[in-house]
């Protein structure tokens, strides 16, 4: 049996966590050790999401864990929520993506923009994993610029009719319900964008698995097509108003990604250290060579910085002070950092580094998606550029 994961904590960051936060982290860590690590390599190569893990995640209470207990959620603070994301992504980015979408991109908008009836109908079922959700914002031709979306919602006597296509939708083929963002007004009016809760068995709704992925292989990524999809009036998320509503959801998800990336980096660093100590070359462990030591020192430094960044961001978020720009900085820095750590681990492992038996290349390939989704690295650069100078460099 593989040794249990001990985390990376060079600066005694644990001392900055509350007892509950540590307990939450430890319980998810142990669960990932026992349930994810033994199966994830195979699921990745086979190219399927390990759906058998969903009931276990739900039982622990991982879905929408920072939403209130009255809706069947755990009511955790944002640091504990972040630690959950960290530990899940230590297992695999696909697993963390699943939880991010379920919690931050579906449960969160229902909680924030939904009516009391919608909250009561959907949130407890989603917390218990009985209902899986997906989030439809990105379109084939509109990724970084969602305001250009072509999906339309038109009011009818009985409700709404939706037409359009969405792409790169995590959980798309697995989901029972989709949060679909569509323009209710003119095609050039992003202020008319509103959210709709669309059961995926509604006539005219179809999802198609996106084939040929070399990244996030243990995750369901699908294309959604909505062709004259009729939904009742109650399908509208009443408080959603304009493009800022889906962007608010993305800020939630990006916050979790900033933590998740630290988990992926920790997994790689842990693997790199163990390999460097055990792999003998020229009669000594490769960890005894300066080049490998430089790699490891760089990894530990960057992970430690990213950890502290997340923690302070989480504390700010709990105080209601975190800005979307601060979240952008953390997502941008941490995902890039994790990608570098995964790449350097892959290289340190030599030829073994390309095998699915080790974690590094799987994490590396995953992180290339994470680098691009939820606001690409470049877009976050522009968000920060605008924040610094006051001048928008978009478009």
């Amino acid at each position: 049996m593989a040794p249990k994961f001990q985390g990376v904590d060079f600066y005694d960051v644990d001392a900055l966590l509350s007892e509950e936060e540590r307990a939450v982290r430890d319980t998810v860590r142990a669960w990932v050790d026992d349930n994810v690590i033994p199966v994830i390599g195979e699921a990745y190569v086979a190219g399927h999401f390990p759906t058998q893990l969903v009931p276990g995640m739900a039982e622990l209470g991982l879905f929408g864990a920072n939403l209130p207990e009255e809706y069947g959620c755990a009511g955790l603070d944002n640091v504990a929520y972040g630690l959950i994301m960290q530990e899940l992504e230590r297992g695999d980015s696909g697993l963390r993506s699943f939880a991010s979408v379920q919690g931050a991109l579906v449960m969160y908008p229902i909680y924030t923009f939904g009516s009391e009836e919608q909250k009561k109908q959907w949130l407890p079922q989603m917390a218990s994993g009985k209902v899986i959700g997906c989030f439809g914002l990105t379109e084939p031709d509109f990724g970084s610029n969602p305001s250009g979306m072509l999906t339309l919602a038109r009011e009818t006597k009985a409700g709404w009719v939706l037409n359009g296509a969405k792409m790169w939708i995590t959980n798309g083929s697995t989901a029972h319900v989709a949060v679909v963002w569509a323009k209710t007004g003119a095609i050039d009016d992003p202020e008319s964008i509103r959210g709709f809760l669309v059961p995926t068995n509604t006539k005219g709704f179809s999802a198609k698995d996106q084939k040929g992925k070399l990244s996030l292989r243990a995750s369901d990524t699908s294309e959604l097509v909505l062709q004259d999809v009729h939904v009742p009036t109650e399908a509208l998320l009443p408080q959603s108003a304009g493009l800022k509503s889906p962007l608010l959801c993305l800020t939630q998800a990006r916050y979790g990604i900033a933590w998740g990336a630290v988990g992926a980096a920790m997994a790689c660093y842990d693997e790199a250290v163990s390999y460097a100590k055990n792999r003998l070359m020229f009669g000594k462990p490769i960890g005894g060579f300066q080049l490998q030591q430089a790699r490891l020192a760089e990894m530990l430094t960057e992970i430690t910085k990213a950890q502290l960044l997340c923690l302070q961001l989480g504390r700010l978020k709990d105080q209601g002070k975190a800005t979307p720009q601060q979240v952008s900085l953390a997502k941008r820095n941490n995902v890039n950092m994790a990608t570098e750590v995964a790449r350097e681990t892959r290289r340190l492992l030599g030829a073994n580094g390309i095998l699915a038996e080790y974690q590094a290349m799987r994490h590396l390939a995953n992180l290339e998606s994470v680098y691009t989704y939820e606001g690409t690295h470049d877009i976050h650069t522009l968000i920060l550029g605008q924040e610094i100078t006051g001048i928008s460099a978009f478009g």
Binding site: A23, V24, T27, L60, G61, L62, A74
Partner: protein
């Protein structure tokens, strides 16, 4: 069904422990402490028995320093109803002193079952459970690997050399639990949040009445702790089938395992 589970805070066996400067204590810096893994099985068993009975109470009791409250809360997060910390700065090296303090707490509790892990992974003593049973005048079954309870009696299976021993006992009884009796649950997030609100009594105690030569009172004293010797480097005696005779000779004459 009212069940007590006696638990212990121990150093995580996955962390690398260092001996303190005095040569006999544990250097606690950087060491993670956990609920003794055998006690996890005992807690799980108590929860399952209570759930099966549909009523009752699962109480966790620990002797230990103030930090053992966190260990108790781990068990509360799993689902136990309340906790009692018998607080002392030093856990006695003498198992009998620990047993006396626990027995005094358990005596008037009206418990149907008192469960322990079969041993603590820090001292490997296997002592406290049977000693508590003796002090309370209760039957004791150790290393329980399978358990049936019906009415006011129970049947336990113990894994013994080459087979299984089946033991019947009346309730109340003291049982020490072997790993594998059940699959301990993970403390769920709601459980972790609920644990904060469950009652946890802290009662200061003085094991051994403060006398005796041993650490924390009692007649047993730890005089030294020594890490295991460094493992010697392995050696390759040859390759393929040709190496077998030499390997057998070394296993027989040098390692003396054949």
């Amino acid at each position: 069904m009212k069940i007590a589970v006696c638990i212990k805070r121990v150093a995580d066996s996955e962390t690398r422990v260092k001996i303190g400067a005095d040569g006999k204590s544990l250097d606690e810096a950087g060491v993670k402490f956990i609920l003794n893994p055998y006690d996890e099985f005992a807690v799980e068993e108590a929860l399952q028995r209570k759930e099966k009975a549909g009523a009752g109470e699962a109480v966790v009791i620990a002797l230990g320093p103030p930090q053992a409250q966190e260990t108790i809360r781990t068990a509360l997060a799993m689902g136990a109803d309340r906790g009692v910390l018998l607080q002392t700065d030093e856990v006695p090296a003498d198992g009998l002193e620990t047993a006396k303090v626990l027995a005094a707490e358990l005596k008037d509790g009206g418990y149907d079952l008192i469960l322990f892990g079969k041993m603590a992974i820090d001292d490997y003593n296997h002592q406290v459970g049977p000693m508590v049973a003796e002090l309370l005048g209760l039957p004791c079954v150790t290393t329980v690997a399978h358990l049936e309870i019906a009415g006011d009696s129970g049947t336990a299976e113990r894994e013994i050399e080459g087979g299984v021993e089946v033991v019947e006992f009346p309730l109340p009884a003291v049982l020490t639990i072997e790993k594998g009796l059940n699959e301990p649950r993970y403390p769920a997030l709601k459980g972790i949040m609920a644990a904060k609100k469950k009652p946890l009594d802290v009662k200061p105690v003085t094991p051994g009445g403060g006398c005796g030569g041993g650490r924390g009172g009692g007649r047993v004293e730890v005089v030294a702790r020594v890490p295991p010797p460094e493992r010697k480097e392995g050696r390759i005696v040859g390759e393929g089938a040709a190496a077998v005779p030499e390997l057998i000779r070394l296993l027989r004459e040098e390692a003396k395992v054949l």
